[in-house]
């Protein structure tokens, strides 16, 4: 059983690895975006899916990473790869500053405080315009080929999956789940919930930080409105919920399916897909709160590694 799974994994990875040489640029770009959403949905899963603390402002970490990388690239001439890694560090620092006080709050208070975070970071970015270019943003020199980005983004998506796998199969992950299930009981049994929540939060912020950095390199021009949009948070959330919150592959499933849907819907009408995401969120919460994989997991008693 384990060997079979390993073979499948290697096959998929190899396939994705050699794919860019056989398909059109459009497919490569599209897959790159799916990688991005996988990484983002998995990172949201790490905090919200596992601990149940809903982070409504998660795109703030994405934007922080994007801006950090963009500033390092344009002002200091860094290469985009290390710049993005630093982006993850600044995102994690932001998470530490915000998470330390806010995670002490009970669930709904935390969620609302996160709702405001995004607006605040965006306001700060606009305010310090000498560093960040304010409303006009930062422009990077264009790239010749997106191939390196493809592999980089794929790498982050893979890293997100691996981190989630390690977490869920570890005692750390089990304890995070106990926070979601019943935080009062978890604390009464000696589980240091505040510290654990913070670790999960830091990791869940570092990933979007790198993704943001790659994104900045990819689009070559970032400005506050486009880098901190609510739709990014919404998409992260709906992909994770739809696919299966708290599972390892749920966000992958959600990211893939909904990216395909989004691509199809985009040509129809610009705001249509956002409305549908809203409707999907409502329907998932009412009918299928654990998401597709979550439901399957319950039904067929699948192991937690799903």
């Amino acid at each position: 059983m384990k060997w079979g799974a390993a073979v499948i994994v290697v096959a998929i990875l190899t396939g994705l690895g050699i794919m860019p040489f056989y398909v059109s640029n459009y497919v490569v770009t599209f897959t790159l975006q799916i990688f991005m959403w996988i990484a983002l949905a998995e990172s949201w899963n790490l905090i919200s899916g596992l601990t149940g603390y809903v982070s409504f402002g998660h795109v703030a970490f994405f934007g922080t990473g994007a801006y950090t990388a963009a500033i390092l690239i344009t002002k200091l001439g860094w290469h985009w790869l290390p710049a993005s890694l630093v982006g993850s560090v600044t995102a994690a620092i932001l998470a530490l500053i915000i998470g330390y006080p806010c995670l002490r709050l009970k669930g709904p208070y935390f969620a609302i405080s996160m709702l405001g975070l995004n607006e605040v970071v965006r306001a700060l970015v606009s305010y310090f315009d000498r560093l960040t270019g304010g409303g006009s943003g930062i422009t990077l020199s264009p790239m010749n080929t997106i191939l390196p980005l493809y592999y980089a983004m794929g790498g982050v998506a893979l890293a997100g999956l691996v981190i989630t796998y390690w977490t869920i199969t570890s005692r750390f992950g089990l304890r995070l789940l106990s926070i979601r299930e019943n935080e009062v009981a978890a604390e009464a049994m000696g589980i240091p919930t505040a510290a654990l929540k913070l670790y999960a939060f830091l990791i869940s912020a570092a990933l979007p930080g790198i993704v943001g950095g790659f994104y900045a390199r990819y689009v070559s021009h970032i400005e506050p409105l486009g880098t901190f949009p609510l739709i990014t948070t919404i998409t992260m959330i709906v992909m994770c919920l739809f696919g299966g919150r708290g599972t390892i592959f749920g966000p992958v499933l959600g990211a893939t399916l909904l990216s395909l849907f989004q691509e199809w819907a985009w040509s129809r009408f610009l705001y249509f897909h956002e409305a549908i995401f809203g409707a999907i969120i409502v329907l998932v919460i009412l009918l299928m709160p654990r998401g597709i994989l979550g439901v399957l997991q319950q039904r067929f008693r699948l192991p937690r590694v799903v």
């Binding site: 709050l105 709904p108 969620a111 809203g278 409502v282």
Partner: protein, 291 residues
Amino acid sequence: MTIHFTGTMLLQGIVSGLLSGGVYAMIALGMALIFGVMRVINVAHGTLLMLGGYVTYWLFALYGMNPFLSLLISFPLLFVVGLLLQRFFVSRVVGAPELSSLILTFGLSIFITNVAVMSWTSDYRSVEFLTGSFLLGPIAISKPRLVTFGFALLITVAAFVFLNKTKTGKAIRATSQHRELAQVCGINVRRIDLITFGLASALAGAGGSLISVMYSIFPEMGRGYVFKSFLVIVLGGAGNYPGAFLGGLLLGVVEGLTSLLLTAQLSEVIAYVLLVLVLLIRPTGLLGGRT
């Protein structure tokens, strides 16, 4: 860069702030009621506000109706919308983990907001009805702000009278203090949930109508108000309805002063920092309430 602050400027900031605060208070009262009775955080509250604003706008643009008169329409209309939302969606997550209601109302707000964008476009619209200001001593008082404050005050006072003097109102307060006990006393909490959500939506809608007189409206306008309403509830203390009113005024004043002393952008940051501070230091609110 030095700025000289005169007492007049500060007073101006405070007065303007108080006037806006009245509207905040009314809107926040709605959200406080929903949270108190159902323990649901209505992220869609801002969306309901937006709908109220558009009702007023369209009545004004198409029929030339006096926006303050349109309150007679937006209030009951949003009451019904609230009833429907509660009946078909929110009722299913009352009692579920608070997470579910958060995400549910979040999803509803996204859906409704985008339907609004698809129907009415993202363009800013304004209701040019009342403009200008007059001088009261050294202070300039904006006419639209004063009148909207008056209406907000009127509606809020009426709401408090309803909550304190009528049977249903008292039942609402009882349910928000102790849901199980209220049930045991024979109160039909499902009916109370419906009425509360309807009333809260009506208050939000009225807020939207009043706001449309002062500022431009657009489909995404509700988002900032959800956060601010929540801040007001936290300031006043959950379950403390008069506290929510005072909290609204306080927020208005803080905002007025910060946009005077700093830029408007930073006033959002200040509001945020204020929220986090209050939540950490006095989670029961500045005026005391339940956690």
